[in-house]
Amino acid sequence: MTDANLSVVRKFIRPQSGDSWATIAERELPKLKTEEGVSSLQSWNLHVYMRAPAPEGSPRAGNPILPSDVIFIEPPMAAA
């Protein structure tokens, strides 16, 4: 959201096709090593990280990220 009338809220992205934790970390958190970026993303996105795994054989197996997900790329903001 870039509208000047909107207050600042926590930054997020929507996954791109084929995204994994690593690809999002490399794209959105380029200053961090990939492993550190992945670890940060996972800790900021427990709603995705803690999701029940997809069954074996599923195209989603091993990657909990859904195309509709909101992925935060920064930690929660401090209370005002």
Partner: protein
Amino acid sequence: MYDLIIRNGTVVDGSGLPGYQADVAVKGNRIAKIGKIAETADKEVDASGKIVAPGFIDPHTHFDAQLLWDGAAKPALSHGVTTIVPGNCSLSLAPLKADHRMRLVGMFNQIEEMPYKAFREGVVWDWETFSEYITRIRKGLAINVAPLVGHSVIRLWVMNDAATERTATDAEIAEMQDVLRECLDAGAAGLSTSYVDMDETLQPVPSRYADAREVEALAAVLGEYGRMLQIVPEFYDPDLTIARLDQLAELSIKYQIPTTFSPLFVNSDNVDAVDRVMNRVDEQFTRGARVWPQVQTRPIDISFSFAVPSLLFIRYPNWYRIMRFGTPEEIKAHFADPENRKARAAEVADANGLWEKLVLRQVKTEANQKYVGQTLAGIAADRGVTPVEAMIDISVEEDLEAHFLAADMGHNDDEKVVRLLKHPRVHIGASDGGAHILSFSTYGDTGYLFAHFVRDLKTMRLEDAVKKITSDTASIWGIPERGLLRAGYIADITVFDARTVDRGVEKFVQDVPGDGSRYVRDSHGVDTVIVGGGIAWSAKGGYQEARGAVLPGEAADRPQLVAAE
């Protein structure tokens, strides 16, 4: 000569203006006159001492299945609700190919707790398209229905099994747009989607596999018709809710559509959350977006037994798994095993005192009758075990038919809730009527609104409460000629006694096809409910005429708007 006259009532017309004494005359399906009426009518209703209001509109229900065997959406109609919106949360029963029926039944079972047997014994599957479904439910319809079409269902229709595997191709998105147009042409009030729901295998529902461009393409079609987009956001987290409402706002502005998200709860564990969300709602409305949060009136109560999987256990995977996938024998054997009993008790030990407060509300055996009405803390003390152990033991002793109540689990801070309910940018709704039928009663929210917030706490004007659930709702959803008492408007009218209106106590009844049960509440203080000019229900006569309509309906059915003078 009129068909119906309601005499001597106080007309609270849905505008929010003060009520006034007047008679209301109905001719055909429309209000003919409001004022002193000397003429007579075939039928007359004495509303002395009572309120005459527009029929209530419930914008968040899941009556999709129930409407196939019950055109009155009982008991919603008896609570004064004259219009319901089913098809929320990405789930509708059309369009639906024959091959997909059992998948959708599984989703309705998982998400709405509608038993498989109810579909087997209560449903004749004689439709596939949305238009055919509308034709099907029109038979015997006693309540008005403004149905949403579910995004998950459209995805299934177009993508089959791939609906829960991947994003859609450009060609598939174009086909979904065409299907949505067909549904809107056939009378759908809008589209619903979900970001939280899981199917019967506990995997995300099809709508959750959609990327942003798919949702945007569907929103563009809604823009062609000016219809509603409803979503279920990750309501347990304010940051996620704000992210979703920002997405809605962009779509609302770009395609000039109304949008709504539900539910929004007052969370006692995070009291500032709702203020943060509402601040964002205000900012987005200021930009020109329409992002209506839906707020329910009632506190959160959950009833359950071990016989069916309960929402209460969804945070505890081992509990939920055995309840969801185990047979009754397997569940009993699991909890009768001392090792499992110990492990399950330990798993839920950290629940902020929840178990102690649970009340045993119903058992089968004589031996446990003495505990009915007691908290698990009391029962545990009597038995010399922990509250969770007492719950497990009694459930096993009762063949899983011990029923417990977790009352007032949230959304029970009256001061904060009423502030929300009165907020001009809050949409009263989220009743979930017809859903979660084995967890709580989703009926009587309007009675609770009048009894608790208007009459008992005196924190809301009666006229404002009526406006919130009538003309506001009709305006938000673009439902013409309803929601107000005006000469020329459709005669959807609820007559109730403001001194006694309320919801009854929650009770467990067996009235679902296939010997199924559900929790319901009777209405109190509602006298007469008129739909399309006919008496659909009255306290004296019960269910009567069936004049329900599908809204907005096919183009030919829609009322012609007349320009104001």
